[in-house]
C-alpha cells in the first residue's frame, strides 16, 4: 500500500514548500531578503558612482558620465588587474573574476554572505515547530522518519533556490534601471551562476539548520541554536584558515574542509576542477550535518 519512496519524498517536499510559503513568516522573510538584495545593489551602484571618478583619476583611465562606464574601463585596466591579483593571491582567479560583470560579482558576494542567515531564519524551526505542535504525529505513522526529514530538506532547498533566483531578478532589474554600462545578458548569466553556487553553499547550512531542528523540539530555541551553530562554524573556519600551514598545521586544513567556509573560495572559480569538488564537498557536508541531527531524531519520542 505504501507508495514508492521517491514519490513519498516528493509529496513531502511539495507539501513542505507550499506549507512554508503559506506561512506569512517565510513569505515576509523572503520578500525582505529580495528587497535587501535590491537595496544593497542600489547602494553598490551609488557608491560605485561616487568612487569611480576618484579611481579613474588615481589610476589614470578615461572618465565618463554614466554609472559603471568608468568601472567597465577600470575593470579592463592593467592596474586594477594587478590589484585584484594581489587581493586574491592568485592570478588565475583574478582573471576569472575580471571576466565577470561587476554587478554579477557583487551579487555573488551578497549571496554568499547573506543566504546562510536566510536559511537559518526560514528553516531552523521547520521540524521543531511540527514536533512542538504535535502535527508530526499525523505524519510519522504514514511515512518513515527519514523520508519525512529528507522531504523537508528537499522542500526547503527548493524554497532557498527560489529566494536566490528572485533576489537575482531584483538585483538585475536595479542594475538595468540604474547602471549606464549595464550588460544585461552577461550580468543575468553571471547572477544565475552565482545564485546556483550560493544555493549549493547554502545547502550545507540547510543541513545544519535541519540538524538543529531535529535535535531541538522548541522552535525558538532551535532558531537561536541554529544561529549559534552558524557563527561557531564561521569562527572555526576563520581560526582554521589562520593557523593552517605546513607540517602538523595541515590538520587545520582538515578542520577547514569540514566547514562550509572552507569551500567558498572554490565557488568563485569558473572551471569544473575547482567548482565540482567544492560542490560535492558542500553537498556531503549538508548530508553529514543532517545525518548528525537525524541520529538523534530517529531515536527520539515524538
Amino acid at each position: 500500500m505504501m507508495p514508492p519512496p521517491v514519490r513519498t519524498l516528493w509529496a513531502i517536499a511539495r507539501h513542505e514548500l507550499t506549507d512554508s510559503v503559506r506561512s506569512r513568516r517565510v513569505i515576509v522573510l523572503i520578500l525582505l531578503y529580495v528587497a535587501g538584495s535590491m537595496a544593497a545593489t542600489l547602494l553598490f551602484i551609488t557608491v560605485l558612482q561616487k568612487i569611480e571618478h576618484q579611481l579613474a583619476e588615481s589610476l589614470g583611465v578615461q572618465a565618463a558620465a554614466g554609472t559603471g562606464t568608468v568601472t567597465a574601463t577600470l575593470w579592463k585596466s592593467p592596474a586594477f588587474r594587478h590589484m585584484l591579483t594581489e587581493l586574491t593571491g592568485n592570478r588565475e582567479l583574478a582573471e576569472t573574476l575580471l571576466d565577470i560583470p561587476p554587478l554579477g560579482l557583487f551579487f555573488g558576494w551578497l549571496s554568499f554572505a547573506f543566504t546562510p542567515a536566510l536559511v537559518m531564519l526560514t528553516s531552523t524551526s521547520r521540524i521543531a515547530e511540527e514536533l512542538w505542535s504535535g502535527s508530526a504525529r499525523f505524519v510519522l505513522f504514514r511515512s518513515s522518519r527519514l523520508q519525512w526529514c529528507l522531504g523537508k530538506f528537499a522542500g526547503q532547498a527548493i524554497q532557498i533556490l527560489g529566494a536566490l533566483l528572485l533576489s537575482a531578478v531584483g538585483a538585475w532589474l536595479v542594475g538595468l534601471l540604474r547602471m549606464k554600462s549595464f550588460e544585461p545578458a552577461a550580468t543575468a548569466w553571471a547572477m544565475t551562476l552565482f545564485a546556483g553556487r550560493a544555493w549549493v553553499y547554502s545547502l550545507a547550512f540547510l543541513g545544519l539548520a535541519l540538524a538543529v531542528s531535529q535535535w531541538c523540539a522548541a522552535p525558538n530555541l532551535a532558531l537561536a541554536l541554529g544561529f549559534l551553530a552558524m557563527i561557531a562554524l564561521a569562527v572555526v573556519a576563520g581560526v582554521a584558515e589562520h593557523f593552517a600551514g605546513e607540517g602538523w598545521r595541515r590538520a587545520w586544513d582538515v578542520v577547514l574542509a569540514l566547514t562550509p567556509g572552507g569551500h567558498k573560495t572554490d565557488l568563485w572559480w569558473g572551471d569544473a576542477a575547482h567548482l565540482l569538488p567544492a560542490c560535492v564537498f558542500l553537498v556531503c557536508l549538508a548530508l553529514a550535518y543532517f545525518a548528525a541531527g537525524y541520529a538523534r531524531f530517529s531515536r527520539r519520542d515524538v
Binding site: 507539501h15 506549507d19 503559506r22 510519522l140 511515512s143
Partner: protein, 314 residues
Amino acid sequence: MTPALTLKGVVKRFGRRRALDGLDLVVPQGSVFGLVGSNGAGKTTALAVSAGLLHPAAGEIDVLGLGPFRAETHGGRITLLPQDSRFPPHGRIDDLLAYYGHLQGVPADRLSADIDKLLEWVHLTDRRRSPVRTLSHGMNRRLSIAQAFLGTPELVLLDEPLNGLDPRESARVRDLIRERRGRQTIVISSHNLGDLEALCDAVAFIELGRLVRQDTLDDIIQRSHRITYVLAAPTVMTVLSEAVPEVVWQISSDGLELTASYAAPWTPGTLNAKVLPVLLRSGAGVLEVRRGSDLETEYFSLTPPLPPPPGAVG
C-alpha cells in the same frame, strides 16, 4: 486469527516515571476495543508506542502480525488520532487530507472520493477549502477523526476521539465507528465509559501502566450472567428464592434493586419468564429490568482508587 495488536511486557519510561510498566494487551482483529484507565494510566502511551511514535524501553510489540511498527511495512495500514496534536495551521483541509492520503498510498483515483465522503461524515464539506487555522476546536477534532479513517486502514487507534464534540457530532462518530465494526480493528482510549459500553466488543482496564483486566464487554459487565430488577416497592425474597432456587440474589440496602446472578441452563428469557410474574403478583411493581452490570461499576470494582495526595486530611 492473528491479533491486530499485541503488546507483551512493554515498558516505557519518561525520566524516572514508568508510563508503561510491563503492559500486556491483545487486540483481536476486526474488534472495537476500548482502553479504560485513570489519567496517567498509560493509555495514550500505549497507543503512541504501538504507532511507533514512542520507543519502548523493553517488551514486544506486534502490529498486524508484522512485528513492531515500521513505516516501510505498516505505513498506510495503521492510523492514529493523537490526543493533543495540532494540524499545520496554514494548509487547507482538503490539501492536508490529500497529502496524508498520498503518504498512505491511497490510489489517486480514489483519494478525492474518499476525502469527500469523510468530510461529509464529519460535517466539514462546506469548510473543504478553509485553512486549518480558521477551524474551531470541535472542527479540528472532527478533522482529526477524518484523517484517522482515510484510506480504510486495517488498524485505527483513536485517543479520546469524542472529546470536545457536541452531542450530535458524537453520535455521528459513534455511528461511523459502528459502521466500520468487523471491517477494521478500532482501538479507542476514552474516559467516557458510556461511549465505550455502546461501541466496544472488548475492553482492557489499565492502571499504573499495567493491565488490570482484559475481556469481552459481555464478560466484563456479565451481560449473560446477571439481571437487575428495579422495583417500586420491596418484595419478600423467600417467594423468589423458591421460584428460582439456583439463582443467587443480591438486594440493595433499600430493597428496591434485586440483582440475580445465574448460570446455565438459565437464560435471560427463561429467568424473566419465571421471575417477572412472581414480582408482579407480589405487588412490587417492576420499574426497570437491566441486563448485566455497567462498565463504570466494573471499573470501580476492579481498580482501587488512587491514594490521597500527600498531606491530605481524612
